[in-house]
């Protein structure tokens, strides 16, 4: 497998009232062609900012440092023109809230066709025809009618199908989906996950799936990266991470997910404390104050994310006292 996306020592800092606040620190990860990598973390863990930085979509008060290489091309220092050539065409992003990602005063047809006209130089007529077939492909019935409609006329699930269809218009090699099902009902969520699975099998694009929901990621990802307080704390093949998590944060998080199956519990398992607030940068491991395994060393010395000779297959945890495999 060759790496399509290589993120190396990426940091993102926000300027906030004279101070700088780190949102992402020293994140390195690769995405191979055709692979699905799940990025899991809670709010403020840096999972979204990492990929907004990769896409050159950071807010104006944020700056990225480090390197993001997409198919041999450096993106962090790339100018707007070069990014625009890649984005939409070879690199696409799907957002949590399709309503705010779509333009409210343009029809679905115009917005979808625009992608092809802008990025692939297609004619409007050709682009409209391909928009209709794409809608069919992503499971939208009556595509001709939908193309004439405005975003607010569609349900949340339909809007997300449109967003997915739009992201695929130019046949991208990498799709980054940020919480694509979080705003949806559970039955609709299941349909969208099924759709992403089918599209991956058929089109073979690589997919980065960002989610706070371990179970959503479990259903799709080949590999999982867990983030906490702006850093990667664990990365492993998906099956391994759920069965034998090595970082205490991952293990505790897995215990916290209540199951619909299993017996009823009188109390939910919890993870005490809170993640550090943005701007708080503890000297040692950011998880140490909440960690059942923490020792004195954890508060003093930041653990590094180890890794084997084959970074893609490796199961690595940034922990001084990882759980036994």
């Amino acid at each position: 497998m060759t790496n399509l996306l290589c993120i190396d020592a990426l940091s993102v800092r926000f300027a906030q009232g004279g101070a700088t606040v780190a949102a992402v620190e020293q994140v390195s990860l690769d995405v191979a062609r055709g692979e699905c990598v799940g990025i899991v973390g809670e709010s403020g863990s840096g999972k979204t900012q990492t990929f907004l930085a990769a896409m050159g979509l950071l807010a104006s008060n944020a700056a990225a440092e480090g390197s993001v290489i997409f198919d041999g091309e450096e993106l962090v220092a790339a100018g707007r023109a070069r990014l625009n050539r890649l984005r939409g065409a070879r690199l696409a992003m799907i957002f949590q809230d399709p309503m705010s990602a779509l333009t409210p005063h343009l029809t679905i047809g115009t917005q979808m066709a625009e992608v092809l006209v802008q990025h692939a130089g297609a004619s409007w007529a050709e682009a409209r025809a391909r928009s209709a077939s794409m809608l069919t492909r992503v499971g939208v019935a009556e595509p001709a009618r939908r193309l004439r409609q405005y975003p607010h006329e569609l349900s949340g699930g339909l809007r997300q199908r449109v967003m997915i269809g739009m992201s695929l218009m130019c046949g991208p090699e990498l799709v980054i989906a940020d919480e694509p099902t979080t705003a949806l009902d559970v039955t609709v969520q299941a349909q969208i996950i099924e759709l992403l699975r089918a599209l991956r099998e058929e089109l073979g694009m690589a997919l980065v799936l960002i989610s706070h929901d371990l179970a959503v990621v479990a259903g799709l990802a080949d590999r999982i990266v867990v983030m906490y307080a702006g850093r990667i704390v664990e990365r492993a093949p998906a099956r391994q991470i759920f069965q034998i998590p090595r970082h205490p944060y991952t293990a505790e998080l897995l215990k916290c997910v209540p199951s619909v199956w299993g017996p009823r519990r009188e109390r939910l398992p919890t993870l005490a404390g809170q993640p550090p607030r943005p701007g708080e940068s503890p000297a040692g491991c950011a998880f140490a104050p909440r960690c059942p395994r923490a020792a004195e060393r954890c508060f003093r010395e930041r653990p590094l994310l180890g890794g084997g000779a084959h970074p893609i297959a490796a199961h690595a945890a940034a922990c001084h006292f990882p759980l036994p495999p």
């Binding site: 809670e42 699930g157 559970v186 706070h212 179970a215 998080l253 997910v257 199951s259 009823r264 993870l271």
Partner: protein, 325 residues
């Protein structure tokens, strides 16, 4: 207070009795024929997807929206026809916790002022030092510190804001606490803390909970009895074990099949996408019939009644008898 709630628990009369409730929102029938009882000290879970009417039901009980017809009884008193003085007395015993903890707090009021507000309205005889003492006690009870009362909402995390919302709701020792998606906007590692806090308070104060959520796993763990709503109607009501072990309504089955789960999960079952008819409270037939794999012609013409099919297990489905007996 304790004496009171014990008396309630012993009597056969429910704390809250809702019968044949209909609520219209503009042209749309948002709730229809909603009937259920809630007993003192009990936790009733209410699940359903967006637009099913869960929040409208909560608002109707609090008389924040007008009921078109039906009956809402509070300890034998009809809330829909009682006078303002009675309603004011009831409001004291009937409190609510909202989904978005930050938005539900007034940004210009200190935490202490927010939590003390119900006391100023309903316990005006208390002196300022008495009020301060009560606020300090409840803040500590919900896991905050008394000295935090001088701070403002923006200084707190989402989980802490939800603790403030719970403190405000619990300071008068209400008999019923309506929780509308109380943990949906919180991170997984924080959700358990808040749910357990609600359960502890319920146990100590004998408060009944109406726990509204789209998260089936959480509802399963907090409630003994669960009702399922679809398109403005109750479609199933059963003890949690029966509902999750033997769901009888095809919609409940679809809902459970759609829940994503961690490794070794049951595979996703494809659920037919909701149609326009499926998202509206249809009066001519079962609202789920358009999506239902078991639908027969009768389902399109007659609304099934919520009937008892097993002890304590009620189902609104013409065909449920075929698989439930």
């Amino acid at each position: 207070m304790t004496h009171d709630s014990q008396a309630d628990a012993c009597s056969a009369e429910p704390l809250l009795k809702v019968t044949g409730l209909q609520v219209n929102l503009g042209e749309r029938i948002a709730l229809q024929g909603v009937t259920f009882d809630l007993f003192a000290g009990e936790t009733l879970g209410l699940v359903g997807e967006s637009g099913s009417g869960k929040s409208t039901l909560a608002r109707a009980i609090l008389r924040l929206v007008r009921a078109e017809r039906g009956y809402i009884g509070w300890r034998g008193e009809n809330l829909l026809s009682c006078d303002a003085a009675t309603l004011r007395r009831v409001r004291r015993d009937l409190q609510m916790v909202f989904q978005d903890p930050l938005a539900s707090l007034d940004p210009r009021m200190t935490i202490g002022e927010t939590v003390a507000e119900p006391l100023r309205i309903f316990a005006a005889h208390l002196s300022a030092p008495e009020r301060t003492a009560r606020v300090a006690a409840i803040l500590e009870r919900v896991g905050l510190r008394a000295d935090m009362s001088r701070r403002y909402p923006h200084e707190f995390s989402g989980g802490q804001c939800q603790r403030v919302g719970i403190a405000r709701a619990m300071i008068l020792n209400p008999k019923l606490l309506i929780c509308d998606e109380p943990v949906s906007s919180l991170d997984v590692s924080i959700q358990g803390q808040i749910v357990n806090l609600l359960l502890d308070l319920q146990r100590d104060a004998g408060t009944a909970l109406l726990f509204i959520s789209h998260n089936l796993a959480i509802v399963r763990h907090v409630s003994r009895r669960i009702v399922v709503m679809f398109a403005g109607r109750l479609v199933e009501s059963a003890p949690g074990d029966a509902l999750f072990g033997n769901p009888a309504h095809p919609y409940t089955q679809a809902l459970l099949a759609a829940v994503p789960a961690l490794a070794a999960a049951p595979p996703f079952t494809r659920v037919p996408p909701p149609t326009e008819a499926g998202s509206r409270a249809a009066s001519s037939g079962c609202a789920f019939s358009a999506r239902c794999r078991y639908a027969i012609p009768l389902c399109e013409t007659r609304v099934p009644a919520l009937d008892q099919k097993r002890p304590a297990h009620w189902v609104a489905c013409h065909r449920a008898g075929e698989w439930i007996s």
